[in-house]
């Protein structure tokens, strides 16, 4: 379902809106920020293929054709079937974000909207996820705020330790005493990141067993910071079917952070109340730097969580225990930083005693990286990481050189190489890439960023694997016009 042509052109027009010199939008009560992005993507998709069983030699379920493809031959079937890379296709997706804030409607009253327009051109526009969803409303709400409380009504989203949730409804935030924040929200839940109800077309188009009832969401969190050194939070999230026949999700989480000097202790725990299991428990200790060296250790328990409208949770997914060690050395002048990391992961027993092939049940990773600034305007980065885990393994390295040009611009070149191996699928070769990027602050409130990277897949071996020889590019412009509430107009800063 593609939007009307006029709308597509409107998106393009918006993407160029930053060039319009709007210095003042009326009564200094509106601010419009935008992000206009274009990408160029090449992919060689897989395609299903078949070959007459008589043309394939050998025996067994999996056989290799004369040109190197792996096919599956079922006894009695006239054809053997497999996949192979199709021809290269490309697409140019365009994404335009617009954020509009309006205030001055009365003390503490604000209206906010975050719109996203998207389209795609090129050989296969459908390659880009949701390219046919021309316009999205990520947020659109009215807000009334005072020093101690804030109320929002409309489409909104929230991020917390439980991740990102969006919904249509009402939320309230209260600060009863300094350091204590109590926040809650309720309304119709939306599919995470898709900005449409659970019964909308996005899930229906892709899932035969999509939810058949909208969800009603209730979420709440308490954050307490008794001092600058200690902060605690507790969260609860419940998503129930509109017909009350069941829950879509029920989660609770607690987390805390304590800082001591430059060190810190972080802990978090997340429980799937429906499944009665802990999805995540994490403890991280970062010691204060000693002789320019800092060390952080983390232990983590992770088990994947699936919403209750899916059957995935009934398949008894198992989790893993992980240990991680980070070591960082920084020269006091800050111009050289070296980092090393190591991880080890051990998966739970699946209880599948009949598995004939012993799949990997642990994983480990080692990595090192360095960042060096030989002069004020130069920075050299490099790193290598090797990781072996369940399902896949990889080895990769990268190096990059960045040159700042004045306070407003930088250019960089980088090279990379990686190899990944899948445990379940044959794949060969090393991918090397070379790219460049640049950024320039056009004005105090607009910035342009671009990058272009070419990848080449070497030593691919048989032709059954994914061919990663491709070109990728991106161009993005950020801009803001209008007033800045509460803050004097300044540079774009970390935006």
């Amino acid at each position: 379902m593609r939007g009307p042509r006029a709308l597509r052109w409107a998106v393009l027009a918006l993407s160029l809106a930053w060039t319009t010199p709007i210095d003042d939008l009326g009564a200094q009560s509106v601010r419009v920020s935008g992000s206009s992005g274009l990408q160029y993507i090449e992919v060689r998709p897989f395609m299903r293929d078949s070959v007459a069983a008589g043309e394939v030699g050998g025996s067994g379920l999996l056989r290799q054709t004369a040109d190197g493809h792996i096919v599956r031959c079922v006894t009695g079937d006239a054809f053997c079937r497999g996949t192979r890379p199709a021809g290269k296709v490309s697409t140019i997706p365009a994404v335009q974000d617009l954020e509009v804030s309006a205030w001055g409607l009365g003390e503490g009253i604000q209206a906010f909207a975050h719109l996203r327009g998207r389209t795609a051109w090129g050989g296969n526009p459908d390659l880009w996820p949701r390219a046919n969803e021309t316009l999205d409303v990520l947020a659109a709400y009215g807000e009334f705020s005072r020093e101690r409380y804030r109320i929002r009504a409309g489409r909104q989203w929230t991020t917390s330790g439980l991740g990102f949730y969006n919904f249509d409804g009402v939320s309230a935030l209260v600060r009863p005493i300094p350091g204590l924040v109590v926040e809650g929200g309720a309304g119709r839940s939306l599919v995470r990141g898709l900005n449409e109800p659970r019964t909308g077309s996005a899930l229906e188009a892709i899932e035969e067993l999509a939810p058949n009832e909208p969800g009603l969401m209730l979420t709440g969190q308490v954050r307490y910071r008794p001092s600058q050194r200690l902060s605690l939070a507790a969260l609860y999230h419940r998503d129930v079917r509109d017909d009350r026949a069941g829950l879509y999700a029920e989660l609770a989480r607690a987390e805390g952070l304590m800082r001591f000097g430059d060190g810190s202790i972080e802990a978090s725990m997340e429980r799937d109340l429906a499944g009665g299991q802990f999805n995540e428990a994490r403890l991280r200790l970062r010691a204060p730097p000693f002789r320019a060296t800092s060390i952080a250790a983390e232990v983590r328990r992770y088990r994947p969580y699936f919403e209750l409208w899916t059957i995935w949770g009934a398949f008894s997914p198992v989790g893993f225990d992980e240990g991680r060690l980070d070591l960082t050395w920084a020269r006091p002048t800050g111009d050289l930083i070296v980092r090393g990391e190591a991880t080890y992961r051990n998966y739970d027993d699946t209880g599948m005693e009949t598995s004939p092939g012993s799949l990997r049940t642990n994983g480990w990773g080692l990595g090192a990286s360095a960042s060096w600034s030989p002069r004020d305007h130069w920075r050299v980065d490099g790193g290598y990481r090797m990781e072996v885990g369940f399902g896949a393994a990889r080895s990769e390295g990268h190096v990059g050189v960045l040159r700042r040009i004045g306070p407003d611009s930088h250019v960089a070149v980088r090279g990379l190489a990686f190899q990944r191996l899948y445990e379940f699928r044959l794949d060969h070769g090393v991918v090397v890439g070379m790219g460049a990027e640049g950024a320039h602050r056009i004005t105090d409130r607009s910035r342009i960023v671009g990058s272009l990277t070419a990848y080449r897949h070497l030593d691919q071996g048989d032709t059954s694997g994914m061919d990663w020889t491709q070109l990728r590019g991106s161009l993005r412009v950020r801009w803001t016009v209008g007033a800045e509430p509460g803050v004097p107009t300044g540079p774009e800063g970390v935006r």
Partner: protein, 479 residues
């Protein structure tokens, strides 16, 4: 009488200072004329009378000897009094004598070598300023020392209009100015100290670094001077990091100090120092920011914090910021606008920001298997992942007779273990109905997918509807 001698010493010292000044431009070879002139006052009569025109002898008198017959002719011209901001008048010191009661002579102050006794009479040099301190007693142990009451002998530089720029550039540099921490602590604490600064400095000196020069009264009381302004051209503003800023956790904790004294911040910081990070800002930070000056073109640049974000957030902060944000340990919205979060957290499509590195798409499989990126905290795995995998031919079409998991010949027997460990990955390509083909009791072959310890009652209590995808009859006996 005891007061006279030291005063006379000073008088003579000052006279020698004037004489010494000659050597700067047209040095007169005093020692070569020893024996010819019995008294200093013979040539420098103006020292005694106070007549500036008679401070030096008439050049014509040289010709009385240097007539081309007895001596070679010379072309000597007196340089005149040296331009200085020294406020000294010899006749006022005429009646003073040395502390020991002896008569004062020019040599008391102007002897070239004070160690040799007696010094050769005509070996003269500029008077040492320390000689003044014999009478003009103050806290300073020496000339140019901290605590010196410079105004006793000197007038402010801006009032000494005759001093050329080049000479100002050669003003002596006090050792105290090289002391550690001087730049951070050089603000005058008393009116006397403030006056002392003005002996050598004009407001232009301060304006090189102080972004709030137009708000600081000691600077405002200093006059501007074009000669000093000329000397400041090309000099770089210096902003040493104060000791307080080096304290552990300063980046996080500076808010309370800023609130307590924003005026102190504005010595070095302009508003961009704050707005570089405090994009939206709360009421408190807004109050501090409003108290800071804006940068002025051509004025002091202020501390450059354009890369403060990198300082505040270490390079691995993106991986571990969740706890800081979720607990409120950092009030993210003080620095970031909401869009900064939504750039990543509303990623219905592949990121609009550089959250994932450029080659992430090629390598993301391992991230999914390892659960390191926690993809589902932002993405709907059903829609986002499978949508893309369908377009790229990776997603399952529900047919089991296509070779895909080619590295596992007995995949049908292995897939259960793989699914329990990497179910998130499975769901990114397979629909639930792919699994129901075998695992449903009424749509498939009734293969039980539940693992050890499966809490059927707990699951059913929360969503019995899902059970019905596989179980036509409620296995728990419900309706």
């Amino acid at each position: 009488m005891r007061r006279v001698l030291p005063a006379l010493a000073v008088f003579l010292l000052a006279a020698a200072t004037v004489l010494g000044a000659l050597q700067d431009t047209e040095e007169f070879p005093h020692e070569a004329h020893e024996g010819l002139f019995p008294l200093c006052e013979g040539c420098h009569v103006g020292i005694v009378t106070g007549e500036e025109a008679r401070l030096f002898p008439d050049p014509a008198s040289c010709a009385e000897c240097h007539d081309g017959t007895r001596q070679e002719p010379v072309d000597w011209e007196p340089a005149g009094p040296r331009a200085s901001n020294l406020e000294f008048f010899h006749p006022l010191h005429e009646d003073f004598v040395g502390l020991d009661g002896s008569s004062a002579t020019c040599q008391n102050c102007h002897a070239a070598d004070q160690i040799v006794t007696p010094a050769p009479r005509m070996a003269v040099s500029a008077a040492a300023p320390e000689s003044c301190l014999e009478c003009h007693v103050h806290e300073a142990p020496a000339h140019l020392s901290p605590g010196a009451e410079c105004s006793v002998c000197h007038i402010p530089l801006t009032e000494a209009a005759r001093i050329p720029t080049e000479r100002i550039a050669l003003f002596p540099w006090p050792d105290s100015h090289d002391a550690p921490g001087f730049i951070s602590e050089h603000a005058p604490g008393t009116p006397l100290e403030e006056i002392s600064c003005g002996i050598c400095h004009a407001s232009n000196t301060c304006e090189r670094c102080h972004v709030n020069a137009d708000r600081l009264e000691p600077i405002m009381r200093l006059a501007s001077d074009p000669r000093v302004a000329e000397l400041e051209v090309g000099k770089v503003a210096e902003y040493p990091v104060p000791e307080s800023h080096l304290a552990s956790g300063w980046s996080w904790d500076h808010g309370s100090s800023a609130l307590a004294g924003p005026a102190q911040c504005s010595t070095c910081h302009t508003r961009p120092s704050c707005t570089e990070c405090h994009i939206e800002g709360g009421p408190q930070s807004a109050a501090v920011i409003a108290a800071l000056p804006d940068p002025v073109p051509g004025g002091a640049p202020g501390v450059d914090l354009s890369h403060a974000g990198e300082i505040l957030h270490p390079f691995d902060f993106d991986e571990r910021h969740a706890t800081f944000a979720a607990t409120g340990a950092l009030q993210c919205t003080e620095c970031h606008s909401q869009q900064y979060c939504s750039d990543c957290h509303t990623a219905a499509e592949a990121s609009t920001r550089e959250f994932h590195p450029d080659n992430f798409l090629q390598r993301h499989a391992l991230e999914v298997f390892a659960g390191g990126s926690n993809c589902q905290s932002c993405h709907s795995t059903e829609a986002f992942c499978r949508d893309c995998h369908e377009q790229t031919g990776l997603a399952s079409e529900g047919r089991l007779n296509v070779a895909f998991h080619t590295a596992q010949p007995m995949w049908i027997l292995t897939h259960g273990q793989a699914a329990r460990i990497g179910l998130e990955s499975c769901a990114s390509c397979h629909q639930q109905t792919d699994c129901l083909a075998c695992h449903s009791t009424f749509l498939g072959r009734g293969v039980n997918p539940h693992g050890p310890g499966f809490d059927a009652e707990g699951m059913a209590a929360r969503n019995r509807v899902t059970c019905r995808w596989c179980h036509l009859d409620d296995p728990l006996g419900g309706s």
